[in-house]
Every structure is written in structure tokens, then in C-alpha cells.
């Protein structure tokens, strides 16, 4: 059997042109998918090899694990829900309701990737566009602190570099591509202009670029520490001012290096300034398949995109106070529910230490450091393969991911829905 126009939910590109070949309830081919996508389809179409639910390492009925998890969570005084970047919006909606019912915190992977972008948007706004406008209009594309060839392998061909559109009928030939990074990467060879900058100095460069764009004088000595020359920067400023439609793709090299949200603020202000001269947009290179969706869901339900606390019965937002790493590192959290994420493998050691000290519940599609560490763990069907649901592409375009194979485990949506129901009963 073949499925046309399937959507790969591995990364924020959400490529929706995948042709799946299915044999005996397994995906044997994922045509058009990149290496990451193919690996994702292969790994997630394996037959189940783990029990659907475990408590203290022992296989149990899902119902029993729901009960155990509900009791652990309702007993806690300051539980935190975390992750959610690789699941559906339908599951995320339940997760927010669950955090609210528990009076705990909810945070998503945004707080450790593009949270600083979100904070910069709160400060200054965001001139942006959907990826189709990049395909149709952009004649200048800048990747800053991003290595799309490895992180989003089809980003350049589907959307930003070689894609052909209304005003870009010749694709690559109609575009100038600039890469700004701290080192050469596999993406470098796609660039017309490569600027290798010193690590941790992006803010200064962006600020100098703003000055050049606005026609202010920049002293060459001021750039001494940046690794690039005034001539290089002036050239880039001119490219930016003189393009027809420019797009700056902001990677984690900007958000997770010295300066954090200040880097993104500078990038947004630069793009805003450029709109005095031409059209210019900024798009964060969101990583996980539906990390953009969890920002959306949290925002429409609470007003805030991540780092939300419900202790007072209503949502409050404060990055640094209600965000996962901080709540763990300060040893405030006394129970953790991780959904579709692997905090035990990805967070700083101090935070992981706390995960080993408190009741940990994990819901994921595969075994991970977190599921191994968890007191209660659930195996869930992968959205887009064995479950359906909504995901938002990195440019906020919502798509419906259809189930391709039979469902064996319950979905995140179903597990969280049942957990929510039980928690509400226990709290009543």
C-alpha cells in the first residue's frame, strides 16, 4: 500500500510530500524524506517491543499505570509537566488542562531552544512570513547560527534556497545565500557569502549591522573582537538593504549562546529597520516537529508560550522561575511528568539530578533515558505514524498528520486524556 502526501513530523519543516510504502504494517519506504525523516519513519514503525505501561519497571495494564501516575501527581505540591514538542496539539491541549488541574507548572522544549526568541518577540514583535513567501519571493536568504544541511536537511530545497516560485522561477539562481556561523559546517557549501564569526559575539555584530543599515558610522576598531571586518559587514548591510525580499533564519546559535534573547532582540530590530528600505522577515529555525504547536496551544489557553505556572489557579508566566531547568535545579519540583521528550538525556546535570530524586512519569514513543528512569512509564503511538493529530510547522502553518499504521499503543492524547480525567476525580 502507498500513502501519498504523508507528513514527516520529525523536524519543524513538516515536509508534507512524503510517499510511504507500507508492507505488513511497516513502513518500508519513505520516498522524498531526508535521512533524518527516513530514520524517523523506520524507527517509529517498528513493531512494539516494550510493554505499553510499566510501574517501577514492571509491566502493568495501562489503567493501573494511569492510577499510579494520577496518585503521584496529585500528591505532589509542585509538579511540573514538560516536553510536548513531538506530539500533537490535541495531546498538548490535554497537557495544559492537566497542569491547570494539578496547580503545577507546564513548560515545553521551547524553554531550552527558542524560548529566547519568544521573549524577544514579546519585547519587539516579529516581522515574519510563511515559508511559501520565502519560496515565492525571497532573493536574499541568511542563515544565522544554523546548520540546516544537518538539522533541517530539506529546508533549503523545499523552501529557502533552490525552491522555485512566483518571483524566483530559476530557484537558486535568483537568490543570494548568506551563512553566518562560528565555524564551517556542511551547510557552508551552499552559501554565496560565508561569515565566520567568533563565538558569543553575535549581539555586537547584529548591532553594528543595524547601525550600518541605518547609515550610522561604525568604527573598525569596534569590530576587532568579532572575527569579521567592517568591509565584510558593510557588504552584508548593502545586500540586506538592496534585496527585494530578505529572510533571516535564526538558529539556536543565536538563542543558546551568550546574549540569548538579546541576540534575537537585536536580530528582530535589524529586520524591523530593514523594512524601512525593503521587505524583510525573520523566521526562527524551530527544531522538533511540533514545538511550534505547543507554543500555540499554551498561548491560546494561557496567554503565554512556555514557562507557565498554575499554582494560584490561573496562569502566570516567568521564564527562569517556572521553566523546567530552573524548577528542577532549585529542587522545587516534587514530581515530573515528561511527555514526548527526553529531559534526562538533554538537560544540565543538576536538573537531571532532581529527576532522579522525585517521582518521574514519562510518556514517550520509545525507550529513552527518561523512560528508563521513570517510576511510571507509558509507551505511546507516534503521531503521524500510528496516531493522528495536528502539528504546526516552524512558520506556524497547521497541518493534520494522518495515522499510517495500525495503532498498538494508546496515543499521547489518549493517555493524557485519561490521566486528566482521573486527576480531576481525585482532586474533586
Amino acid at each position: 500500500m502507498q500513502i501519498e502526501a504523508a507528513i514527516c513530523a520529525f523536524c519543524g519543516c513538516l515536509c508534507d510530500d512524503i510517499v510511504l510504502t507500507i508492507e505488513s504494517d511497516r513502513i518500508v519506504q519513505a520516498k522524498n524524506a531526508c535521512a533524518l525523516g527516513k530514520a524517523w519513519y523506520t524507527a517509529h514503525s517498528r513493531p512494539p517491543d516494550l510493554p505499553a505501561a510499566r510501574v517501577d519497571g514492571k509491566s502493568v495494564e495501562v489503567e493501573e499505570a494511569i492510577e499510579a501516575a494520577a496518585i503521584l501527581l496529585t500528591k505532589a505540591r509542585y509538579p511540573i509537566l514538560y516536553g510536548l514538542s513531538s506530539t500533537s496539539c490535541e495531546a498538548q491541549r490535554h497537557a495544559v488542562a492537566l497542569a491547570e488541574a494539578l496547580g503545577g507548572c507546564i513548560d515545553c522544549c521551547t524553554s531550552v531552544c527558542h524560548g529566547p526568541s519568544g521573549m524577544a518577540v514579546q519585547g519587539f514583535g516579529e516581522p515574519t512570513c510563511t515559508l511559501g513567501e520565502v519560496k515565492n519571493r525571497a532573493d536574499l536568504v541568511i542563515y544565522w547560527g544554523s546548520n540546516p544541511a544537518e538539522s533541517h536537511p530539506r529546508h533549503m530545497s523545499r523552501y529557502a534556497v533552490t525552491s522555485k516560485g512566483r518571483l524566483t522561477p530559476n530557484g537558486r539562481k535568483n537568490r543570494t545565500v548568506v551563512l553566518v556561523d562560528v565555524r564551517s559546517t556542511p551547510s557552508s557549501r551552499f552559501a554565496d557569502l560565508l561569515l565566520t564569526v567568533r563565538p558569543g559575539i553575535d549581539f555586537e555584530i547584529l548591532w553594528a549591522l543595524r547601525a550600518l543599515v541605518l547609515g550610522r558610522k561604525v568604527e573598525p576598531a569596534g569590530l576587532a573582537e568579532t572575527g569579521i571586518t567592517l568591509a565584510q559587514l558593510t557588504h552584508l548591510a548593502e545586500l540586506m538593504k538592496n534585496c527585494r525580499y530578505g529572510v533571516l533564519f535564526a538558529g539556536q546559535g543565536l538563542t543558546q549562546s551568550a546574549g540569548n534573547q538579546m541576540n534575537l532582540s537585536a536580530a528582530i530590530l535589524l529586520v524591523r529597520d530593514l523594512n524601512q528600505f525593503t521587505k524583510f522577515a525573520i523566521i526562527p529555525m524551530r527544531g522538533h516537529g511540533n514545538v511550534t504547536g505547543v507554543d500555540q496551544v499554551l498561548t491560546w489557553q494561557t496567554g503565554y508560550p512556555f514557562g507557565v505556572n498554575f499554582s494560584r489557579g490561573y496562569p502566570r508566566f516567568n521564564p527562569g522561575e517556572f521553566t523546567m531547568v530552573d524548577v528542577l535545579r532549585r529542587k522545587e519540583a516534587d514530581a515530573v511528568l515528561s511527555v514526548a521528550s527526553d529531559p534526562a538525556a538533554s538537560l544540565p546535570a543538576e536538573a537531571v539530578q532532581r529527576l532522579t530524586e522525585v517521582p518521574l512519569i514519562a510518556i514517550d514513543t520509545h525507550e529513552s533515558e527518561t523512560t528508563r528512569l521513570a517510576r511510571v512509564s507509558f509507551m505511546a503511538s507516534t503521531v503521524g505514524i500510528r496516531a493522528s493529530g495536528t502539528a504546526y510547522r516552524m512558520d506556524n502553518v497547521p497541518l493534520f498528520l494522518k495515522q499510517a499504521l495500525t495503532s498498538i499503543y494508546p496515543s499521547d492524547e489518549e493517555i493524557l486524556g485519561r490521566l486528566l480525567e482521573r486527576v480531576r476525580e481525585l482532586k474533586a
Partner: protein, 541 residues
């Protein structure tokens, strides 16, 4: 089953204006039979159908981006959870749950989001599914759709119609919406449309052609609501001429001109700014094919969020506030910026007065609707205050004393003595918008109508009366009682499903292959998944 006894009933569609009557609701609908059930003694109270908001921004990408943009607007405006309701935050752009509850608390049971890009229709439905109590739907942005513009340029009128029908079906939208027709497309190359006859670069057509084609399509498809137009040049001094031109361009076809206040300005940009409401209201009075909603400005902090990208940029330049722009491939755009309307600011005072002039100068209340273009002119929560401004001349005069006097003196507002009656308020807040939307079972209390009833305790202060109804009944269930939520319910989603010639699909598919980044197959909204309580409103035959 509910019996509402001895209330003073205002049901303009059925010609009832303040008669003391009994109402019965059975199986969620108004019934002629008293089948018993809970009895509400409404003696001395005012009974009206549930309110209908025909133009607000409550769901979808730009609303959610506005929420995300303004954490400062949510602080201190929180709403705690209760056993029956979810928590949320308010401010100018409230969260979904807060929006639904607040409409209900105000006696409104239906609301339509006015501007959804088809590409984000799924997003709008997701949010509407998290918006409790009210029935809802949305209008679909088509005034800058490149497929439509190409077909207009090619003179393929029929194909425009088939495509519009396909798009409404694909997105599960309710009506055709134009926002700055042609101008949003031009903004993608940093330009704008300034007259109806400017050329839309790359398409060799004009805003006039877009307006005329889509007004015609709306009529040919017999959509329940006529074409809904946000004119070119919103907010710009002297724009009244463009607005009048737009009205004339309809050539007698039905058309709804939205947030008309923002389009009624005389003067010259950067030099002068004045009201042209009187002249324009006269034109509307003489042309029964036209209807308007006001888009009243009220003083205070709010967020401007619009499908009109160049307008968003202009406001950002005026205010210097943070700014969001989103160009949406092949179809639409968006601009967002915070704005504070100040009483002493001559432009803001003029805008406030123009809105009130419109209400007071349009003779036929069935063709003028109470809106604030929430949250653009003000939050929908200020509707009760606007009602008081319309019903209470003394209050209006008192409020007029607080605003910029020089600006006020240049409008006709100080000379207008009209006071709205309760019956007229019932028209501009429920009966009128329901009729304009083509919703047969909304906005009235005749047999078979939805059991949506709002019961107000009389109060000399109309604002207090309309802000806090004693009872709000939705589909025959008492949902609000003395300001408390008594039940949990989710409303229906209205959409239309006009027929089209499937031969158009091949052309649309080709267009998607060429210009979209989403496959044709992945574009249409899955009805069964995204509309848990769908209701297709038939196209008039």
C-alpha cells in the same frame, strides 16, 4: 425545558417590542407549548434573544500572535479556574476559554471571527474548539488571493466562483471577506493600494475588479452573508472617498462594509483629520443594499490586529510600539501592534465621535451593527458602555466633555439628540446581525428559534444592566445565573458548503504545486476532526 414568565420581551424580528409575554423552551428551542420545567419569574425584567457579534477577532494565527506578543496585557487580568470552568487571562486579547465565558456573561451566544487566512483555517477551528459556550464561525480572507487575482485577470469569472466555493468548503468558512483588496498583495513588495484603480503589480488587475468579482460571486453562490468588506486605506485621512467608491462599485449588489468608523475620515494625511460620517451615513441610508458595522473606538489600551499588513506597519510607525507583520503565502497578510486611544488626542477623539455619529445617523437600525472590531477599536467587553452612550443622551454629553473639544466640535455628534430604544438595541446587537448573517434560528424568539435567551434586570444605568444579565440561557440550558457560570458547554461551528464544478480542482492542484509549500491534499480542513459540532448553513436558493 424552561418557562420564562411575564418578561418584557424584545424580539424585533417577530415585531415584539416590550410586550409582557411568556416564553417556553423545549429541547433547546423556543416552543409554543408550555411543557413545564424550570420556571424563571421574569416579571419586571427585559428578555432578549442571545447577542450576536458579527465581527470580532477571537481565534486564529493573528489573535494568538497578539496574545503571545503582550504578556504585559495579561498580568493582573487573570481568570482562575473553577470546578466548571477553565482558567485564562484577559487584557485586550483574551485566551480562548476566557473569551467564551465573557461573551456568555454579557448575554452574547454567537460570535464570528472576521478574518481567517485559509491556510490557517485549521488553527482557527482548533481555537474555536477551545472557546466555550458560544456558537461560532469565521469569514475567509479572499481579497488578496493570488489564484483569484490570476483568474480575474484572465477574465474567468466562473472559475473565480468555483474556486471561492472550493475554498469555503476546504476551510469550512462562512463568508467571503476582503481586507484591503489588492493592497495586502502589494505590501508583499512594500507597496499598497491607494485607490480602487491602482494596479496590483504582477496581476494587471485593480482593487475595484476584486471587489466587484467577489461581490458577484457572493451573490451567485447565494451565501447566507454578503461579501464582507474592509476597504482600502483604513485609518488614513481622506479615506472616505475610497469607501464611497467601494460602495458605488458594488453597483446595487449586497455588501457589508465593516468597521465603517475606520473608513470615514476627511482631511489630508499628515495635515488634517475630520469626520465624514454624516455624508456617508446619508449614502448608506439611501442604498438598502448596504449594511455596516461600526467598529467603535473606546478610550484605553488595546491591541490592533489586522489582516491589513500595510496598516499594521503604519500604526507601528505612528506609535513606535512593537510590531508583528506576517506575509502569508499566496493569500493574505497580517499586522499587529499595541495602541492606546486617548481622550485628549484629537484624532482618537474624532474616531470615537465618528463611531457614535454612525450609530445615530443611520436611520435603519437593521443595517448598522454594534461592534468594536474587537480588539481593534476596543474590547468587546465594552459593548454595554457603548449601549449606554447610545441610550442615554445625558451620559453621552458627560462623556463628550472629557474628550478633545476642538476635534469634537468638528463632528456632528454634539448636535445629535437621538437616544436608542431598547428595541433598537435589540436590533443592533442580535436581530440585525443574525439577519445579516443569514442565521434563521438566531437573533429572535419565534417558535423554532435557538433557545438562546438573555434576561436582564432593569437598571437606570444601561451599562450595568447590559454588562451583567441575570440569566443567560444557551440552547435551553441556564448557563449564567447572577453572574455565575452554571454549566459547561461548547457551541456549534457554522460553515457553508456551496457547490462548485470539480473541474476546477485540477487547476487548483497545479497552482498548489507551483506556489504553495503545502500539498493540495493536505490543505482542506478535516470536518470530522476539527468541527466537533458542525452546522452547515444552507446557501439561499
Amino acid at each position: 425545558m424552561i418557562r420564562i414568565l411575564n418578561g418584557e420581551v424584545y424580539d424585533p424580528i417577530n415585531g415584539i417590542a416590550g410586550e409582557v409575554r411568556n416564553l417556553y423552551i423545549c429541547d433547546g428551542r423556543i416552543s409554543s407549548q408550555d411543557a413545564g420545567g424550570r420556571t424563571i419569574d421574569a416579571a419586571g425584567m427585559v428578555v432578549m434573544p442571545g447577542g450576536v457579534d458579527m465581527h470580532c477577532h477571537i481565534a486564529g494565527p493573528k489573535v494568538n500572535t497578539a496574545r503571545k506578543l503582550r504578556p504585559e496585557d495579561h498580568r493582573a487580568h487573570e481568570i482562575a479556574k473553577t470546578p466548571l470552568s477553565r482558567s485564562g487571562t484577559f487584557g485586550s486579547v483574551p485566551t480562548t476559554f476566557a473569551t467564551g465565558y465573557r461573551y456568555a456573561m454579557m448575554g452574547y451566544t454567537t460570535a464570528f471571527d472576521a478574518a481567517i487566512p485559509p491556510l490557517a483555517a485549521r488553527h482557527a477551528h482548533e481555537e474555536l474548539n477551545d472557546t466555550p459556550v458560544i456558537d461560532k464561525g469565521f469569514f475567509l480572507l479572499m481579497g488578496n488571493n493570488e489564484f483569484i487575482m490570476e483568474r480575474i485577470a484572465a477574465g474567468e469569472k466562473e472559475e473565480v466562483r468555483h474556486f471561492a466555493a472550493w475554498l469555503l468548503q476546504a476551510a469550512k468558512g462562512y463568508a467571503i471577506k476582503l481586507v484591503n483588496p489588492g493592497g495586502v498583495e502589494l505590501w508583499k513588495s512594500r507597496s499598497n493600494a491607494h485607490t480602487l484603480d491602482d494596479e496590483v503589480t504582477g496581476f494587471q488587475i485593480t482593487p475595484r475588479q476584486i471587489i466587484q468579482s467577489l461581490a458577484e460571486v457572493s451573490e451567485e453562490l447565494s451565501l447566507p452573508h454578503p461579501v464582507h468588506i474592509h476597504c482600502n486605506n483604513l485609518g488614513i485621512a481622506g479615506n472616505w472617498e475610497t469607501t464611497l467608491e467601494t460602495m458605488k462599485a458594488l453597483e446595487g449588489r449586497r455588501g457589508h462594509l465593516t468597521h465603517i468608523q475606520f473608513h470615514s475620515y476627511g482631511g489630508n494625511p499628515g495635515e488634517s483629520f475630520s469626520s465624514k460620517a454624516a455624508e456617508m451615513a446619508e449614502y448608506v441610508n439611501a442604498h438598502p443594499n448596504l449594511s455596516v458595522d461600526v467598529g467603535q473606538v473606546m478610550f484605553g489600551d488595546t491591541t490592533s490586529l489586522t489582516g491589513d499588513g500595510p496598516l499594521g506597519y503604519m500604526l507601528h510607525q505612528v506609535t513606535g510600539c512593537k510590531w508583528v507583520n506576517v506575509d502569508i503565502e499566496n493569500e493574505a497578510g497580517c499586522g499587529i501592534t499595541p495602541i492606546e486611544y486617548k481622550e485628549k488626542n484629537s484624532i482618537h477623539a474624532t474616531q470615537w465621535a465618528i463611531g457614535l455619529e454612525w450609530f445615530l445617523l443611520v436611520q435603519d437600525p437593521w443595517r448598522v451593527v454594534l461592534t468594536t472590531d474587537h480588539p481593534n477599536g476596543a474590547s468587546f467587553t465594552l459593548y454595554p458602555r457603548i449601549i449606554r452612550l447610545l441610550m442615554d443622551r445625558e451620559y453621552r454629553k458627560e462623556m463628550m466633555r472629557n474628550v478633545n473639544q476642538k476635534a469634537l466640535a468638528q463632528t456632528t455628534l454634539p448636535d445629535l439628540e437621538r437616544e436608542y430604544t431598547l428595541n433598537e438595541i435589540a436590533i443592533i446587537t442580535r436581530a440585525g446581525p443574525a439577519r445579516l448573517l443569514g442565521l434563521q434560528d438566531k437573533g429572535h424568539l419565534g417558535v423554532g428559534a435557538c433557545g438562546d435567551v438573555t434576561i436582564y434586570e432593569k437598571n437606570a444605568d444601561w451599562e450595568k444592566m447590559f454588562a451583567a444579565p441575570r440569566y443567560v440561557i444557551k440552547d435551553g440550558q441556564v448557563l449564567i445565573e447572577d453572574g455565575h457560570l452554571r454549566g459547561e458547554t461548547y457551541g456549534r461551528t457554522f460553515y457553508v458548503s456551496p457547490a462548485y464544478d470539480p473541474a476546477i480542482e485540477g487547476k487548483i492542484r497545479k497552482f498548489f504545486d507551483d506556489y504553495y509549500t503545502v500539498r493540495y491534499e493536505n490543505y482542506p480542513v478535516q470536518l470530522e476532526h476539527y468541527l466537533p459540532r458542525p452546522e452547515a448553513i444552507p446557501c439561499r436558493v
